[in-house]
Structures are given as C-alpha cells and as structure tokens.
Symmetry: C2
Subunit: 255 residues, 2 copies
C-alpha cells in the first residue's frame, strides 16, 4: 500500500470550501473523484486543514493511501487531466505509511490580501478584499507583535466552533511564529498583504484577526485596545470576519 | 449637451469583448444600458478601441453625449451601482464637445502577462497565458527593438481584417513607441509582462506579436528571422495568436 502526499493549489471562488459536503462542490470531493477515476479505488483524501468557502490555496497538502502502481509524474498529469483548471495538483510524493497531512503538520502560512480603494479594481475582485476607507497601516502594524507567541485565540475564533471543529485537545491556544504586513507601495498591483504563520489556526481565525485589524486601521478600535481584545477570550469584542476571497493558504509546514 | 469622458476597467473573462453584438454580453452594451437607466436617454458610448472577447482593461476610455445634470462623482457612483462588479467606471470628466475617445486617442498601452510553467497556477488562470516549455527570454527580448518605430504590421494583423476593421486610412502602418519585457524574477507572482505602447494597434496585433515571440522563445523561429517576418507583410509567416486572457489594455493616451 502506498501513502501519497499531494500539494494542491486552487481558486476557491466557485467552491464551498475544502471539506466534502452533500450537494455542494468542494475541493476534497473533486480530488477524491479524480483519484477514484484513475485508480479505481475509493479513497479518503486527508487534507492538512479545511479552507472555507471562497478561500484559495497555493500549497494545500493532502495524503491518501492507494494500491496504484502509477508513477508519481504520471499521477500528477492524470489527476490534473481529470480536474477542472481551477484545481491543480502541483506535486505528488511517496511518503511513510504513517504520514498524515493533518496530524503531522507543524504549521501553516496564510496570506490575506486587501486593497484600500473607493472603487474595487475588477481584476482584483476574486483575490483581495476591498476597504473603502483610508487605513492607518501604522496602527495596524503596531498590533502585529501582540499576536506573535502562544495565546488563547478564543476572541478570534468563529462563534459556535468550540464543540465542533476544535482538534487535538489544545483548546484555543495557538502559537503564531510570524505576522507581517507588506504595504501596497511594495506591490505592482497596489495590494497590501498580511502574512501570518503559526502552528495552527482556529476556524475563521485569520479572517477575524484581519477584520479586527481593519477596525484598528479605520479607528474604530484603538491599537492599545487590541491586547485587551486578545486577552478577553471573547469573540464579541473583536471585529467582523474579513471576506474569504482575500485569504490564501500559502504553505503547510512539516518536519 | 454635455460630453462625458469615462475611464473604465473590466475583467473581460465573461464578455464577448467591448463592442455591442446581438445576443452576446459586451462591455459597451452593459455600460450603455447603465447610462440609459440613469439618464433616461438612449446614448452611444464611443470607446477608444475594441477589446476582443476575454481581453481585460485597466484604463479603457469612452465618451458619450448627454443632457443629464448629474454631477460627475454621483455619475460614477450611480453607474457602478448599475454595473456588475467585473466592470467599473473609475472616473468621469466633462470634456469639450468635439472630444471623441477613438479619434482623439494619440496612443495606447497594452500589457501581456504570461507564465512559464508546466502546471498553470489556478490563481493566474484568468489573467495570464501559460507557456509549458522553457522560454529563451533573451532571444525574445532581442526582437523587441525591431518592433519600435513605424512599420507596416500586416504580418501581425488578424487575417481577414483588411476590408473590415481598418480605420482612418493609415493602412497597416503603426508606430510603436516602446516595447519592453519584465521578467518573472521581478514579479511577486512569477509573471512575465510584455508592455507595448504605440499610436494604434491592428486587430489581434499584440497577441500575434506575443505568439510570434513565444515561437522565438521556444526556438521555432530564430531571432534573426523576426525582422524578415515583420518585413514580409504576410500573416502566414508569423506565429499563432496568443490567448486573450493574457492581454490587458492599460492606458489610452490623449494630448
């Protein structure tokens, strides 16, 4: 039995997210179907995480067990032939039998793209959020060091997730390795990018952090209040959930 | 009677191009309909040019005559409310009565985006062409100075355009002001961009130039043959038409 690790990229615009759901198009379902069509086996594809509806990925990782003898390069080509062009298998690798894309993941890196503009440029519509008011990027940047390190991120967790999605018994404590903001001037398309890497993320955590940073940027929340919001462990104190289309899973880290 | 100049941006993916066509969604038709709904006048919107199906724009210019008293800022907002989000009016301006977006244009700037990759990244699918073979960018770049200046560009004109689309009696002679290639290393997304500005462009001219440059890059045409292809005034000697999705009208120049 082989254990095959895939790295995947997708445009999440037309999908109800990663995870299989009855009656909705999802990435997991389509990739599992492409594998099944190729190998004639019913497989379960284990993703490193679940991206929400509309969220994109440049480096999602997943694994599945199979008896197929197809060489790796042929597998990548054949799977891509069976998938719509907005989902691509970037690479395939044979891994140890006990490798699991989710349990073995040591961390993930996300990027959130946004643009400050009164009129949303049509060519950025799918891949960036729009903020129509001026943003104080210095104030937003001042909050970023507060996120780094190990914290209970309940304030930034989607409400109602406590019983359902929480994994591995670590509660709501997550460790953020780095968090930085690249400003529009450094980008050809005028996009600001928030990059955040950590050992794991709660449901909607990145989008809730970004939504709260937007509230700081527009002055609704003062930068000195940000630490208090994090410490409060209370979703009601943080800002709104930023739109899914700005979010992209860049990379999943393994040892 | 006012003469109003608009600057427009659009994602051409879902449209049959700029120009009104029976039974097909076009940019011109939708913007004319938005103007009519707002002003209660039937207007003709004169575009600076016609972008083909699938071609994008960041700075298309168009004008229309109207008796409306709506101030410019309100006009921009109201038109955008009436348009789908993949078409945006960026600005409006009152101009002299004899201004005509096409006849007064002194030039245009286009950008063609492409990526050299075996697997097309899903997030670039709408806005860049894919070249799956390695490209000799030095060889391609060596051809660019040959394009600059005034030339008869028949070799790069869509076949069958001679009788139909040719305007203003200048035949197939056009003047290219600048033509440069920005390499993938200089771009965050790994996109190569060919920027070309000139006083006018024949039908499919940029895409045929790019298709021919791809043939140079992959070695099917030698760089020294490029001048001969241009001089031949024969469409059959040049390369294929590069895909529409890589092309973007960046700007229209006026005096």
């Amino acid at each position: 039995m082989r254990n095959i690790k895939l790295v995947l990229a997708y445009d999440g615009t037309c999908y109800a997210g990663w995870q299989r759901q009855k009656g909705q198009p999802t990435i997991q379902e389509l990739v599992e179907a492409a594998i099944a069509a190729l190998t004639r086996e019913k497989v379960i594809l284990h993703g490193a995480g679940r991206t929400d509806a509309g969220v994109h990925a440049e480096g999602m990782v997943a694994n599945f067990h199979s008896r197929t003898g197809i060489p790796l390069a042929g597998l990548v080509k054949a799977l891509n032939n069976g998938l719509p062009p907005d989902i691509r298998v970037l690479s395939a690798e044979n891994v140890a039998n006990d490798f699991h894309a989710r349990y073995n993941a040591r961390g993930k890196c996300y990027e959130y793209s946004f643009i400050v503009a009164e009129i949303m440029p049509p060519l950025l519509l799918r891949y960036a959020a729009q903020v129509a008011m001026p943003l104080d990027l210095d104030a937003m940047e001042a909050c970023l060091p507060l996120l780094v390190g190990s914290h209970d991120f309940t304030s930034f967790e989607a409400s109602g997730s406590r019983e359902s999605g929480r994994s591995e018994g670590k509660g709501a404590v997550r460790t953020i390795f780095t968090c930085r903001l690249q400003r529009a001037e450094e980008d050809a398309d005028g996009i600001c990018r928030l990059t955040i890497a950590g050992d794991g993320f709660l449901r909607h955590m990145v989008r809730n952090i970004v939504g709260t940073l937007f509230a700081v940027g527009t002055g609704r929340i003062a930068p000195h209040e940000f630490a208090g919001i994090l410490a409060a462990r209370n979703r009601a104190q943080a800002g709104a959930t930023a739109p899914a289309r700005g979010l992209k899973l860049k990379e999943v880290f393994y040892e």
